[in-house]
């Protein structure tokens, strides 16, 4: 049995999501090859070669692959898919975008967002915003799988696998990259941070979000998250959203400030090790999952907490 793991990378380096998906791939068993498809991505391929337990890195380089567009990337994966028993990618926005396209081209029903490997053909995955966990067994000859990264530890990087250069499949030329607006920050990434401080609708404005949430996050060296309500209202950028339809996180410490704890928000953070909630409504559902709850006004408590640390 051989698995092809699709690396998440930015051409220069491999993202931690790859290390986590690798742990899931290792649990499936067999030999693991990692695909680094990009443009001028030799550095990322070299980094992938260090991942523990990888037998080989396939490096595909073409200008059309620079931004990971689904159409050319799916064509590359499908062209390589033949000998593999499983194709695995982290459940990042890129993995979610490209892998179902691959699955359909291979006539396979994808298994999305697995949280555990029960057997090489059987997996656990959350449904209904994580309010139920389904165990599913795939009858397809090939398995196409995306991995919920919050459920797996990062694999180490002390190996040295060979890198093989493979030519790219033709770009179907259906789409072109126009531009991107990526948030720049020195903070840890949400999906790999040890501590996350999240703000909700209660913040009331982008300024207050900046004045109240950010200093606490800075003090803790934390990543910053937000509820959908805070993002919709423009207090925080979209890539900070935690939840069923945002990012799923499981840090050591999650601090929820002025977040009510809707099912859809809990879906993204309830596997955190320790949860702290600060909310003025003592009946707020967030307290049902919080290890430590503090009832009160965030505008008084949070600055005090920031100072106390």
């Amino acid at each position: 049995m051989t698995t092809l793991l699709i690396a998440e990378h930015d051409n220069a380096s491999v993202k931690d999501a790859t290390n986590k998906a690798l742990t899931a791939a290792a649990a499936i068993g067999g030999e693991i090859h990692v695909l680094v498809a990009g443009s001028n991505a030799a550095a990322a391929a070299a980094e992938a070669a260090k991942l523990d337990g990888v037998a080989k890195v396939l490096h595909v380089d073409a200008p059309a692959l620079e931004h990971g567009l689904a159409e050319p990337l799916a064509a590359v994966i499908v062209a390589l898919a033949g000998p593999y028993d499983a194709i695995v990618a982290p459940s990042t926005s890129s993995g979610k975008n490209v892998l179902p396209r691959v699955a359909a081209l291979l006539d396979v029903m994808q298994i999305s967002d697995i949280t555990a490997v029960v057997a090489p053909d059987t997996f656990e995955r959350p449904i209904y915003a994580g309010n139920a966990i389904q165990t599913v067994k795939s009858g397809d000859a090939k398995k196409v799988i995306t991995v919920r990264t919050a459920s797996f530890k990062s694999a180490g990087a002390s190996g040295s696998a060979p890198v093989e250069t493979v030519s790219a499949a033709a770009d179907p030329a259906l789409s072109t990259f126009v531009g991107e607006a990526l948030s720049e920050s020195d903070r840890p990434e949400l999906t790999s941070a040890k501590i996350i401080v999240s703000g909700g609708r209660a913040l009331g404005s982008a300024e207050k979000f900046k004045d109240v949430v950010i200093p606490l996050a800075d003090k803790l060296g934390a990543a910053v998250g937000a509820s959908r309500a805070a993002v919709d209202a423009g207090y925080a950028p979209n890539d900070w959203q935690v939840g069923q339809t945002g990012k799923v996180v499981a840090p050591d410490l999650y601090v929820a400030l002025g977040i009510s704890g809707a099912i859809q928000h809990l879906a993204g953070m309830k596997d955190s090790k320790v949860i702290v909630a600060i909310n003025k409504d003592e009946e707020a559902p967030i307290f049902q999952v919080a290890d430590y709850g503090l009832v009160g006004d965030i505008f008084e408590i949070v600055p005090e907490l920031t100072k106390a640390l």
Binding site: E71, R101, N131, L182, D232, Q264, D291
Partner: protein, 249 residues
């Protein structure tokens, strides 16, 4: 240009579902059902494109049980022109849904198919991408902005690091994210009018699609529970507990 909008009947997003004690699934008896919220956003986007004179007809399609007619009527009440129900009981996996939609696309020849990015019941996030694959069309997933031009559509996508904009050749697939628009409510007169709008009923066999699931559900379980912890009285108390008891600071 015609726009096709697939809509799914799912458990309402406000309902806290219950897992059946015997592990055989989720209890759906007497549970409120609604249109998948992302599909409402898809319907809204299609209607706005029609209202802007960029589309001529909005066709809603649902694949599901007889009651999915209600979901289609909701889409018609919002303003879609006609509906197609592909009636089938039991689970239809995204791959089979995409195959049925491919058959409908062959008949209807839309210039754009707008779908929700995921259904909030199975949380699969697959159908749009699969349909794009089967049709050999480009895909703009997780859209927060759609700008239709002559022969192309620019889609701004919500990605992990922020936003990405791609330009797709038409015909194309778009899947909606939460911030694309705010769906309208259907007015009472429009709900009445929707009852008279045409709604065709078909079967998967009409499109030659075998809907037998590829995945077997071995069991469905409650997630690991989390119990409420303690309320602390003060900031000092909180800091102390985080340091000593929880050991996370």
């Amino acid at each position: 240009m015609k726009i096709l909008v697939p809509v799914k009947r799912v458990v309402d997003y406000n309902v806290k579902i219950r897992v059946k004690p015997d592990g055989s699934g989720v209890d759906l008896a007497n549970v409120k059902m609604s249109m998948n919220p992302f599909d409402e956003i898809a319907v809204e986007e299609a209607l706005r494109l029609k209202e802007a004179g960029k589309a001529t007809e909005v066709v809603a399609v649902s694949i599901g049980p007889a009651q999915a007619q209600e979901t289609l009527r909701t889409a018609l009440a919002m303003g879609a022109d006609r509906g197609i129900l592909v009636q089938v009981d039991g689970t239809v996996e995204p791959l089979a849904v995409a195959k049925i939609l491919k058959g409908i696309v062959a008949e209807e020849a839309p210039g754009l198919v707008v779908l929700g990015k995921q259904a909030i019941d199975d949380d699969c996030n697959q159908t749009g991408q699969m349909l794009a694959a089967l049709l050999g069309w480009p895909q703009g997933t997780f859209a927060s902005k759609v700008a239709l031009a002559e022969g192309t559509v620019d889609v701004t996508r919500e990605v992990d690091g922020g936003l990405q904009t791609v330009s797709l050749k038409l015909p194309a697939i778009v899947t909606t994210d939460l911030r694309l628009n705010e769906p309208r409510y259907a007015s009472l007169p429009n709900i009445m009018k929707a009852k008279k709008k045409p709604l065709d009923v078909k079967s998967p066999a009409d499109y030659g699609v075998d809907v037998t699931p590829r995945l077997t559900v071995v069991k469905t379980a409650e997630p690991k529970g989390r119990t409420a912890g303690v309320k602390v009285a003060s900031v000092a108390d909180l800091v102390m507990k985080l340091k000593t008891e929880a050991g996370v600071l």
